[in-house]
């Protein structure tokens, strides 16, 4: 299976392409060395032969054919030219002097310069010698040939070819090993990630991708994926927590309802009692529906990422209206909701949601707090703020970070009305507006405030265009 994966791997294909390019470069390099060496050897041979020929030409010019023959004999005896070969032939190509057996038949022209194989005179071996030659026709019609053995050049070429073949072979073997190793390693690491992904799909989010501790890019990838999995797991945990809470908070009243209806179904029919029963049942159902729609509303706000409905809102006006609305409720308890602001305070937001959030803050202060409730809107350097302060028992420090969670209710308020969703909604609205929520001790009581981002641009934000098409 790993082999099949290795063969399909993109790393393997990449490595093969690299080997191909590298092989071509090596081949070209060898070719160049071969060509440069051969031409160098040829050119040196040409020079040596030409020099030797002019010396002999000079001897002929000075002392005629006899002097030339003597000179040839002497050159052969003294080996003036390394691996030198000479031949003087009469016009009918019959050898006159020199150490070559016969005039090569290929050299029929009057003059030239050519590579040719010849037989050495009086040699033990019958193998021809490869010569680089220069020959010409002398003024008396005789032909003179001077050559040098370039047999070592073909030996060199053979060695070059062997080296090239060996090099290519070595390259292939080493590159093959390297490719296999790299590909297997890459495929192995990816396979580890794939295996973990499959395990997560099968068995849940508990698994993590192994990290080798090499701090390489694979480890970084694995660490990032693991962090992402941690985050997903945490979110799933929260969702589960909420689901459990929903189940609990909805099941309790629903069970109560069911019990009541079951009991009623066993009793004698009594119009008065059944009317009361229906009224109670509807009231309880309304509570359940309220919890349900609050939850939906919070999820909805949390899920909103487009701020299509945002516009410039006067925070002071909104807070003032909420304060006035709740003042009536506070008055009924012999308390007041007081409002203070220094005029128009602009924020960019959704008026409904801001109204709802501030309503929840003031409602909490009126329901769970004590004394008069002070609502203040200000606009300072850090941006617009709205604060709600009461003189009640406050929230203990250690509970403050929990009160924003859904269904969380501090111990002493469990008997008073509410579902523990108000501040969750506030938190969702605050997050959507990229605002901040802070709580502090009001000594006594609680002061809670929302800090908004300063408004930079003038005018209202443009509203996102309608996306859906019409089918009539």
């Amino acid at each position: 299976m790993l082999l099949a994966k290795t063969l399909r791997s993109s790393t393997l294909k990449l490595a093969l392409a690299c080997i191909g390019i590298f092989g071509a470069v090596v081949f070209a390099l060898f070719g160049y060395v071969y060509w440069a060496t051969v031409s160098h050897v040829r050119s040196r041979a040409d020079h040596a032969v030409a020099a030797e020929y002019s010396v002999l030409q000079a001897a002929f010019d000075a002392a005629g054919r006899r002097g030339l023959i003597a000179s040839i004999e002497q050159h052969i005896a003294e080996q003036r030219l390394a691996d030198g070969y000479y031949l003087l032939a009469d016009p009918s190509f019959a050898p006159v002097a020199g150490n070559i057996e016969v005039w090569p038949s290929e050299l029929s022209g009057p003059r030239g310069s050519q590579d040719v194989g010849v037989q050495e005179r009086n040699a033990e071996s019958q193998t021809p010698v490869l010569l680089r030659t220069k020959f010409d026709t002398l003024p008396d019609g005789y032909r003179l040939l001077v050559g040098t053995d370039i047999g070592h050049l073909s030996q060199f070429a053979g060695k070059m070819e062997a080296a090239l073949a060996g090099g290519i072979l070595l390259l292939l073997v080493l590159a093959g090993f390297a490719t296999t190793a790299v590909t297997r390693r890459t495929v192995g690491r990816i396979e580890a990630i794939n295996a973990t992904s499959r395990a997560i799909m099968h068995d849940g989010l508990g698994r993590r991708i192994p990290v080798r501790g090499t701090r390489d890019e694979w480890d970084q990838l694995a660490e990032n994926l693991n962090l992402m999995l941690d985050r997903i797991e945490a979110l799933m945990g929260e969702v589960k927590q909420v689901t459990d809470n929903v189940a609990h908070d909805l099941r309790t009243p629903l069970t109560r309802l069911r019990g009541r209806l079951e009991k009623a179904s066993h009793q004698e029919f009594d119009p008065e009692r059944s009317r009361a029963l229906v009224a109670d049942t509807m009231r309880e159902l309304d509570v359940v529906l309220t919890i349900f729609s609050s939850l939906l509303r919070i999820s909805r706000i949390e899920g909103l990422n487009s701020r299509g409905t945002f516009s410039v809102v006067d925070l002071a006006q909104v807070a003032g209206e909420v304060a006035e609305l709740f003042d009536a409720a506070a008055e009924a308890k012999g308390r007041r909701v007081k409002f203070e602001s220094g005029g128009r305070v602009r924020v960019i937001g959704d008026r409904d949601l801001l109204f709802d959030a501030i309503s929840n803050l003031i409602d909490n202060a009126v329901t769970h707090g004590g004394g008069n409730v002070q609502v203040t809107v200000r606009d300072d350097d850090q941006g617009p703020t709205v604060s709600v302060a009461d003189r009640g028992p406050g929230i203990p420090l250690e509970e403050r970070k929990h009160v924003l969670k859904r269904f969380y209710r501090i111990e002493r308020s469990r008997s008073s009305p509410g579902h523990g969703l108000g501040l969750s909604l506030v938190a969702a609205v605050v997050q959507l507006h990229r605002a901040r929520l802070e709580m502090e001790d009001n000594g006594p009581g609680l002061k809670i405030w929302l800090q908004f981002q300063p408004v930079i641009t003038e005018g209202s934000l443009s509203v996102a265009p309608e996306a859906s098409g019409t089918r009539c």
Partner: protein
């Protein structure tokens, strides 16, 4: 509910909900026609002059909003009440922008639905330019935005005046808490506290204390109405 039975178009695909809607509307004096899908709704909406239509958002073949948009394109201005199980926040905006006149989120009380349908039906009927509104011995001066009862001025906060004006304009008809929030406070979410009731309670004390008869009446679990007697 005077004159001939007014016709209303109900666009709803759930049979149980549709039956309940048609029955309760019939009890309130409407002749309700039911359309169970988009095509049906469009052909009925184009061929008949309805007083009001209620349109469910999630239909098998089409989004209810598109029905309203299509009818509006054809120049049909029948007031439309959008009914939806989707959340209010963004869908409400989409719905109202598409030409819906009011928005109701499932689940709802039928009394709430009736109150809203009534308000929409009235809206198309009455556009009267007045400067003074009267209910019994209560007078609202729409120019100076003041109220008096039997000639004695009543001190009202601006918001209290708007609340009273809305109730008086809908004299004899029930308005729900959500409708009050929507028209008096310009808010579009369901109140989860009894704060509106307390606020209306304070207004009622200002209006009805030490008078010969009460003007503001409560319908338990639904809302309020203003009437001079009973």
């Amino acid at each position: 509910m005077t004159g001939a039975r007014r016709r209303i178009l109900v666009v709803e695909d759930d049979p149980e909900t549709a039956r309940q809607l048609v029955e309760s509307l019939a009890t309130s004096g409407y002749q309700a026609d039911l359309a169970v899908n988009g095509g049906d709704a469009l052909s009925r909406g184009r061929s008949t002059d309805y007083a009001v239509m209620t349109v469910d958002r999630m239909l098998p073949d089409i989004d209810g909003i598109d029905i309203i948009r299509c009818l509006r394109n054809d120049g049909i201005v029948t007031p439309a009440l959008i009914i939806s199980a989707l959340g209010e926040i963004d869908d409400r905006v989409r719905g109202l922008r598409a030409g819906g006149d009011d928005y109701l989120v499932k689940p709802f009380a039928f009394a709430e639905l009736l109150a809203r349908v009534e308000a929409l039906a009235r809206r198309s009927a009455t556009v009267v330019k007045e400067t003074v509104l009267r209910v019994g011995d209560l007078e609202l001066d729409l120019v100076s935005r003041t109220a008096n009862r039997s000639g004695r001025e009543i001190e009202l906060l601006p918001r209290e005046y708007r609340l009273l004006e809305y109730l008086v304009r809908n004299e004899g008809h029930v308005v729900s808490r959500a409708m009050l929030l929507q028209h008096v406070w310009d808010l579009h979410f369901d109140p989860t506290t009894n704060v509106i009731d307390v606020y209306v309670g304070r207004l009622r004390r200002k209006i009805d204390t030490q008078q010969r008869y009460p003007l503001i009446h409560t319908v338990r679990g639904v809302g309020y109405y203003v009437r001079a007697s009973g």
